[in-house]
């Protein structure tokens, strides 16, 4: 059967080009001097340097986690360059001054920037390797009091906000990769929506790793004050290299009373070739704190790339009546591995969470859903609904589900549903008997399977995700 299925999934990675831009790269390796170098390069205040050094000290005492259902050779953390930035020719005041080579890169990527950004109504912050290149729409947002800039810039322009919130949701010693990120992060996005403001447009960051042998450690911090709301989009790509690259990001979201943060990701890091050579290790910590009453944090992710994905976008539902959501599509093919899911920590009263996870596994890949639902003793009348569906394409792949449910308050309602299905010969035969070819059939089956998640994505992202999935799975069906 697998001939058509195979050829459907195995399309070349189209973002695998390298942009020829002079980069400022730190020597490989990690020690206090490198951290001081990064901090000095970025002209950081003393408190941030000590935040980094504290994280580094924590990291030294920690060991790389091994409990996840993925396999890879030990990472040599001394062989990574922890700082790589495009060398700026001069200070950038507007988009016109951005290196044209860089702009061409983003054009190739199809990033909606510049005029296209205006049409799409998207404000874009672009992180190239680890440095924020340009933030569009800053002014328009500033008029309503929204701060949207690179985190390095925010460190200088709004140090009090960064210092107040950085590391409060994901503490420096939270886990091995979060500690590493806290020590060496070079840039990322910062977003602050003041009290009562509904962000008038979707905010967007585009991440790209360009330099071979460099790691990307970006740090995102989003704060929505009382009654504020924002929808934030994140896209990621990387060129194709035979070596593995480490991407260890940290994202922290904070929602105060009645605030609403929606965070959507389409992740298409280079996944390695069809033999499993190369690709990104995507070891990411994402966590939102629904701190205030009636606040809401919603994660939507479409994970199609990376050699290995290890991430659990989570919600801490501290405020009473707060809501946490996690909608995920994870697609793996060839030798990709994914161990992803979420944590919903219910602390406040009447807190509600929804988990919808769709795993699509093809080729020799391996995909696990891992999710924790914890109902604390204080969480009266908490409710959770979880649904985890897996779809297998071919017979060489594996799908696993690891649900953890801890209920410490007996007024809680927790539901968990799971299913596994297979795109099989009979399904494709049914389509073909109606005149529909295998490619279209697979795309229809997959989109139907993922519908509950795609519905959560902003319009243009949903279109992109749909295309990406068909592209990704081309050649895997037969």
């Amino acid at each position: 059967m697998s001939a058509v299925l195979q050829s459907l999934v195995n399309q070349p990675y189209k973002h695998g080009f390298v942009t020829d831009i002079e980069s400022d790269i730190a020597p490989k390796g990690l020690n206090e001097d490198i951290i001081r170098l990064i901090s000095a390069k970025k002209n950081e205040p003393e408190w941030l340097l000590s935040f980094r050094l504290q994280a580094y000290q924590k990291w030294l005492t920690m060991t790389e986690p091994e409990w996840q259902n993925v396999h890879y050779p030990k990472i040599d953390f001394q062989a990574i360059s922890y700082y790589s930035a495009p060398k700026p020719k001069k200070k950038l005041a507007s988009m016109d001054e951005v290196d044209p080579e860089l702009l061409r890169t983003f054009e190739k990527l199809g990033v909606p920037m510049h005029e296209r950004a205006a049409l799409a109504g998207v404000a874009v912050d672009v992180i190239f390797d680890s440095v924020s290149v340009a933030t569009t729409y800053k002014q328009k947002l500033a008029e309503v009091g929204i701060i949207f800039c690179s985190i390095s810039e925010a460190v200088h322009t709004h140090p009090e906000l960064v210092q107040k919130y950085l590391g409060t949701v994901v503490p420096v010693g939270d886990n091995y990769f979060a500690a590493l990120n806290s020590a060496v992060f070079t840039d990322g996005s910062f977003c602050f929506i003041p009290k009562g403001v509904k962000c008038p447009m979707d905010l967007s960051t585009y991440f790209r790793i360009n330099t071979e042998g460099s790691g990307q450690f970006e740090r995102t911090l989003i704060i929505a004050e009382e009654g504020a709301s924002v929808s934030y989009l994140e896209g990621c790509t990387a060129p194709r290299f035979d070596t593995n690259q480490l991407h260890a990001a940290v994202v922290e979201l904070i929602a105060l009373d009645n605030a609403d943060i929606k965070y959507s990701t389409v992740q298409n890091w280079y996944a390695g070739d069809e033999k499993g050579i190369g690709g990104i290790y995507n070891f990411v910590t994402k966590r939102g704190l629904a701190k205030g009453a009636n606040s809401r944090i919603s994660w939507t992710q479409v994970e199609t790339g990376s050699a290995i994905t290890w991430k659990y976008p989570s919600c801490i539902l501290r405020g009473d009546n707060s809501v946490g959501e996690f909608y995920s599509v994870a697609v793996t093919n060839n030798y990709q591995q994914a161990d992803t899911g979420t944590k919903m920590i219910h602390i406040g009263k009447n807190t509600r969470s929804t988990i919808v996870s769709k795993g699509i596994t093809a080729g020799h890949s391996n995909s696990s859903y891992r999710g924790l639902v914890r109902i604390a003793p204080t969480a009266e009348n908490a409710r959770n609904y979880s649904q985890c569906d897996s779809m297998l394409i071919g017979d060489q792949c594996g799908a696993h589900t690891f649900p953890y449910i801890q209920v410490h308050n007996n007024s809680a309602t927790v539901e968990h549903e799971a299913s596994t299905s297979k795109i099989g010969e009979d399904q494709l035969f049914y389509f073909s008997q109606r005149g529909i070819g295998a490619e279209e059939a697979v795309s229809m089956i997959i989109n139907g399977f993922c519908k509950d998640v795609f519905q959560q994505l902003p319009m243009e992202f949903a279109v992109e995700a749909t295309k990406l999935l068909s592209f990704k799975l081309e050649g895997s069906v037969g």
Binding site: E425, D426, F429, Q433, G435, M444, N447, G448
Partner: protein, 265 residues
Amino acid sequence: MIIENSPTILSVQGLRASINGTEILKGIDLTVRSGEIHAIMGLNGSGKSTFAKVLAGHSAYEVTGGIIQFEGKNLLELPPEERARAGLFLAFQYPIEIPGVANTQFLRLAYNTVQAQRGKEELDPLEFDDFVREKMKLLEMKPDFLDRSVNEGFSGGEKKRNEILQMALLEPKLSILDETDSGLDIDALKIVASGVNRLTNKDNATILVTHYQRLLDYIVPDFVHIMQAGRIVMTGGKELALELETRGYDWISANKQQAMAGVRA
């Protein structure tokens, strides 16, 4: 209806097919002309459903001998989707469920694919909606059918009606109905049969694959073929089905030769 000198739609000669090395079809001959309704009857395991799937091009079966001509084309050279586009339709015994895909979306894609092949106009969602609702009346289907996922959570009867609806939309040259009567109560059977009867005409042909005579009370065949162990062992008119009903399949083996004498060449 049997029409003098009507063109041949399907011609099968010496068809052999196996699955995983086991031969199921052991030399089938069958000619179907336009306007005709053929019933293929047989016990479970006689190969009648396999025959239907091989005609439609299911990849699990390997054709090891014989020829199939469909409107003059060599059917065996065509992949299943091209057979469908050429006008061969199979109503499935077990229609597949496709979660998350709205029935209307699936129906429209199938319809437009076949229309495009015929050089005819494709319909946008609104036009298609009007068109499909008309067709649904034929099968007494509720409008909410369109918004539900393809076959998901459908009752047995609803699934079969959905198959016939697709037949109505695609207007095939040859329809093969594989055990369409199984799992239907008598009311549903009548609705499905009347739908099929309204779709048959002098320009198309129908093959009914069935275990029981019951369906043939409502869709009256011109020919009845009995299959046993991968071969058509007896062919007759509609009365053969009734005879089979009273005498049982054991009777066939004993009377093969006699019955074969009356078969049209």
